[in-house]
Structures are given as C-alpha cells and as structure tokens.
Amino acid sequence: MVTEAGRAPDRPAQRASVAAVLRNPWIDAAPLADLAPEQSRIGPVLAKLLSARLAQTLGGVDRIEAFGKAAVVGTAGELEHAGALIHTPFFGNLVRELLNGESIICFADTRAEAGESLVVPLWHKTHAPTRSHYQTISARVPDAPRADEIVVIAAASTGPRPHPRIGDRRTDPVVTTRTLEESLS
C-alpha cells in the first residue's frame, strides 16, 4: 500500500495471500467418514508450503505482523471438508509456529464455484486484540476450486492498516446500554 486517502502511510504494509489448490481428499469418501487421517497427512504439507511462501513473499518471518487463513471447498464437497484442512493442529499450529505467532489464527471459509473471491481476515500474530492490525485481504483463484477441489489459503501482512486511528481497547470509553441510555431511548 503506497498511498491511502491520498497520503503515504507512516508504516506502509505489504499484504500477501498464498493459495494451494488440491483435490478434495474426501470426494469419494462415505458420508460422515472420519476426516482425521487425511487431516494429519495433508495439513503439515500445506502448512509448510504456504508458510514458506508467505515468508518468502513478505521478506521473512520477522516482517510478518498479522496472519489469517481460509479455505474454499468446491461444490461437490462439504463445508466441513474446508474446515477440516485449516482447523486442525496439523495445519493451524504449524502455521503459527512457522510464522512465530502466538494468536489463534482468524479465518474464513466457504463453498463456491471456481473464481469466487473470499475476504480473508487477518489479525496480529501475537496480540490478536491489537485493533490497528484488524484488516482483510481479498483472495481469489480464477479457475479454482473445481467441484472436486479445495483451495487452502494462508495470508499475512507486514503491518497495520494504512492510517489506523480508531483507538484500542485501552483507549475506549466505557460503552453499555446504560451509558447510552439517552441516545438509545
């Protein structure tokens, strides 16, 4: 991001998303089949590949400040298949470790036709409530997922939003229905 609202940010951030397209390993599986074996087989491969590409693209693990993940399952799969590949220690824990993070990794998932774009949320990799780092990146693979494929995405940013100025939890006033009694009545 070079300028936003016509001004250069104090800390211009680079955002990247890396997507892998793979065949849905459960496409021929029986309904309600156990997902665990494929999760532990595929998750680590994806975690390593996507984390390495993110770090390479953004100039190293140390430059990454915020991260997120996502999956898009093709129309012949279950939404649970998308979740199965990203919501598992075999993927999430490894991405967190490889990117030197501590936070839970925020996510998006959906089932869609090829070319659907997905807004992937990112937040701070060690201090998730850091409001300046709440941001998103739009990710899209033009010809994927096919009906029997899954797109798995890891995303990261090297800094905050371009001009963060909405405070933080520490600077927020106390807001409850009681303090707002007048305007809500």
């Binding site: 991001m1 070079v2 300028t3 936003e4 774009s117 739009s138 899209r140 033009p142």
Partner: protein, 183 residues
C-alpha cells in the same frame, strides 16, 4: 505518477489435464494502481504531455518488478490498462501503447516483439485477462496464453491499473503443431 498500491500475482501450475507439470509453469503479474493523470480535466485533446510525464516511469517501475516476481527468464509477456469509470479507455491506451512504456520491459527481458495488451474500463474489482505471447517471435504458438487478474478495490473511478505479465514458459501441456506446419 501517483501510485496508490502495487499488486503482485504469481501462479504456479503443478498439474494440468491430470498430469504433472515439471518444472511448474509460472506466470507473474505486477500491477500498479495509479491516479488517472487526466482525471477531472474533461476531454483532453492532447494526451502527449501526460504520456511524457508518466509512461516511462510506470514502465520502469513495473518491468523489473514482474521479472523479479517471476524468478526466471521470461519467455512470454503481455500488458494491461484498466481504466476507472470516470476515465476514457484512451487514457489507459495512452500510457501503455508507447515505446516509452514497453521498452523498459523489452530491454529487461531481452525481448523484441510487440506486447499483446488488454485495455478496458470497469469498476473496482473488475476481472481482466492479460494476453501473453512469445517475447521474440509472436508466431510461436506454444506461448499464446493469458492470465486472469482482479484487484479487489481498484480501479477507483479516477484511477488506472497498469499491469505487466510475464511467463517463464508456454502453456502447460502445450501440444499444438507449429504455425509453420500449416498450409
């Protein structure tokens, strides 16, 4: 030239038609989202001063960046201009259809042929396909290909996306006979 942001897309195809592609087929795109130099000026008859002020700088910005993103020598290339809704397609064409723009890429890639191009106008998030052809002989059929790009929040009505695309090889699993074999 006021650049709002730069976007890089790298596609690495490892299988096509159910068969592995080795080494993976790689295509890279780098796009700059810039302010339309003629925004808010009504119909500008003479585009030459704006071309002079911007085209070379954009070419110099994008050419090394796309080759860097590709990470290999380019064998095919192409270019794009996508104009926001308040502008003319002529504005985008003005910036990319000049040697001042394209020669940066040709020189950096040791290329000689015309850069195939897409020019269009659309809203932010519009999808565009960049055509690519071989960098020294545009009749080499194996290298005719295209790459699809979308920048989620660009172009704004007064912006233009200018892009360059480079491929390290022809199409994955290309197997059409050479043009010279047809009568």
């Amino acid at each position: 030239m006021n650049v709002r942001k730069m976007v890089t897309v790298v596609e690495e195809i490892r299988a096509e038609g159910g068969r592995p592609v080795s080494p993976p087929a790689t295509v890279a795109v780098v796009a700059a989202v810039i302010e339309n130099p003629w925004a808010g000026q009504g119909f500008v008859e003479d585009l030459a001063p704006g071309i002079e002020a911007n085209a070379s700088d954009i070419g110099a910005l994008l050419a090394p960046a796309v080759l860097d993103a590709l990470g290999a020598p380019a064998e095919a290339y192409g270019k794009a201009a996508v104009v926001g809704l308040n502008g003319e397609i002529e504005h985008g064409s003005a910036l990319i259809h000049t040697l001042k723009f394209g020669d940066h890429f040709r020189k950096a890639a040791n290329a000689g042929t015309l850069l195939p191009a897409v020019e269009k106008r659309g809203p932010a998030g519009v999808v565009f396909d960049i055509p690519l052809k071989h960098i020294t002989d545009a009749t080499i059929r194996s290298h005719h290909q295209s790459v699809e790009v979308r920048v989620a929040d660009a172009p704004h009505p007064d912006e233009i996306i200018i892009g360059l695309a480079a491929a390290a090889q022809g199409r994955p699993q290309q197997r059409l006979a050479a043009l010279s074999t047809e009568q």
